[in-house]
Symmetry: C2
Subunit: 239 residues, 2 copies
DNA sequence: CCGCGAGTTTGAGCAAGAGCAACGTTCCGA
DNA sequence: TCGGAACGTTGCTCTTGCTCAAACTCGCGG
């Protein structure tokens, strides 16, 4: 159960949801209804919102921060399936008639998420025009992205996979800085190796080499791409 | 457009759909309605039902046969994302608001499929109780399976991946024979390497070795597992 | 029944990248 | 300000499994 301190006592503002795809076709009173049924909670960096195998009793919307969706193998290896950005629904196992979550959601940075009890999913899809359509659209995009990652993993050499992983993070969360485009959340070499099925050693060597070539800049846990075009070339094989 | 010869002129029998998950809660007249709007078509082994990138203008139900869902990379490598068995919906891109198919569907054996125009999807989910629920449940399972494959690909050595791929095919389409459990559709070494991101050479070596150990039996394009338990051990690392 | 083509087997060499080890650096909290 | 933990770098070794090459075999169509 959520502790009292975790619930958002001052009323949530309607502007939180307006404009987000699942709610874009709704009027203020409907958004009000939806918000009144939501719980809001803040999560420190590196904590789990839910874990693989646990009861899928709620579904979520990320308001602020970034999440990693992670699967762990029986022998402890883990891989990052995808990242979630603000405004996206996640943990929608209830929509797929699953009774447990198929993966773990970890915060990559301090985050804030709304959540609703699983049983409300069918209410939402029935009552709110466009909610189902937009949610399943998101799901379709996510499915496509995972298939994309799968094909990369199966056919591409490590260097290309790492380049592609960086580009994906930049596209999803890139912030312009004076020197390049920075990934908006902390990323370690280990994280990148978990996205690409390699080791942190190999990732470290690749980043060092790219840094020498002026393609990326990185401090500990922070990565910026200074020459995205070059990275695209690498990810397509013309390194 | 479908040619006349492809349409099933004698009325489709209602028993084709009864009992299949998406239609299990429906009465005969509703099933009649659904069938009357369907096109039926037969496909030779090795032909495409639809191709990646093409207009997602229909969705399908496999009545008989087996399909491979395939993605191809820009440089011509291809990987088999999953297999479709009789009774399953496929090509449901319309349900996910996609305007093109994200993958190609090839017949692994001679097959028969029904299909409906994409625009009917929303009619079906609105009119037929349980159709949406069951369809999205299938989708959820498929998503989970792809994530599973992705983690394997990223963390497991080739031998384990191949063992796991064989087990998946056996579980999905295994037919008991006097000597073991046979995969119900033709499978080449190349096919297996396309499922596991390796080469046909490596697969051939593995199968030869397993054959010597009495774990599998294979003729050209036909594979049977004689000792599934042993394969499970291999796929878990205790080779 | 023959011949061809698609699929398979096997060998040898080689390179990508994993594993291991040791050291360096940054950050944070006491 | 100091110490330690977490993260990163780099060199070396060793293995996995890919590449290339060549021969083999099954099964089908003519």
């Amino acid at each position: 159960m959520l502790k009292l301190a975790d619930r958002n006592l001052p009323k949530l503002d309607e502007s939180l949801l307006t404009g987000l795809p699942p709610f874009s076709r709704l009027e203020r009173p409907q958004i009000r209804e939806i918000l009144d049924q939501a719980s809001s909670r803040r999560y420190d960096e590196g904590t789990a919102v839910f874990r693989e195998g646990h009861d899928a009793d709620r579904f979520f919307l990320l308001l602020d921060g970034y999440l990693r969706v992670i699967r762990t193998t029986p022998d402890g290896d883990q891989i990052i399936v995808l990242h979630i950005s603000p405004g996206q629904l996640f943990g929608i196992a209830p929509a797929l008639q699953r009774d447990t979550y198929p993966a773990t959601a970890m915060t990559a940075a301090e985050s804030i998420a709304l959540s609703w009890p699983a049983r409300l999913w069918s209410d939402f899809t029935a009552s709110y025009d466009g909610f189902a359509t937009e949610s399943y659209k998101t799901l379709g995009q996510r499915l496509g992205q995972i298939q994309q990652t799968l094909t990369e993993m199966a056919t591409q050499a490590v260097e290309k996979r790492v380049a592609a992983a960086l580009l994906r993070m930049v596209n999803q969360s890139g912030r312009k800085t004076d020197t390049g485009i920075e990934i908006a959340f902390p990323v370690t070499r280990q994280n990148i190796s978990d996205m690409t099925g390699t080791t942190l050693h190999t990732v470290s060597r690749l980043l060092s080499s790219w840094e020498k070539q002026g393609i990326v800049e990185s401090t500990r846990k922070r990565i910026a791409v200074t020459d995205p075009h070059q990275l695209v070339l690498i990810s397509n094989g013309n390194g």
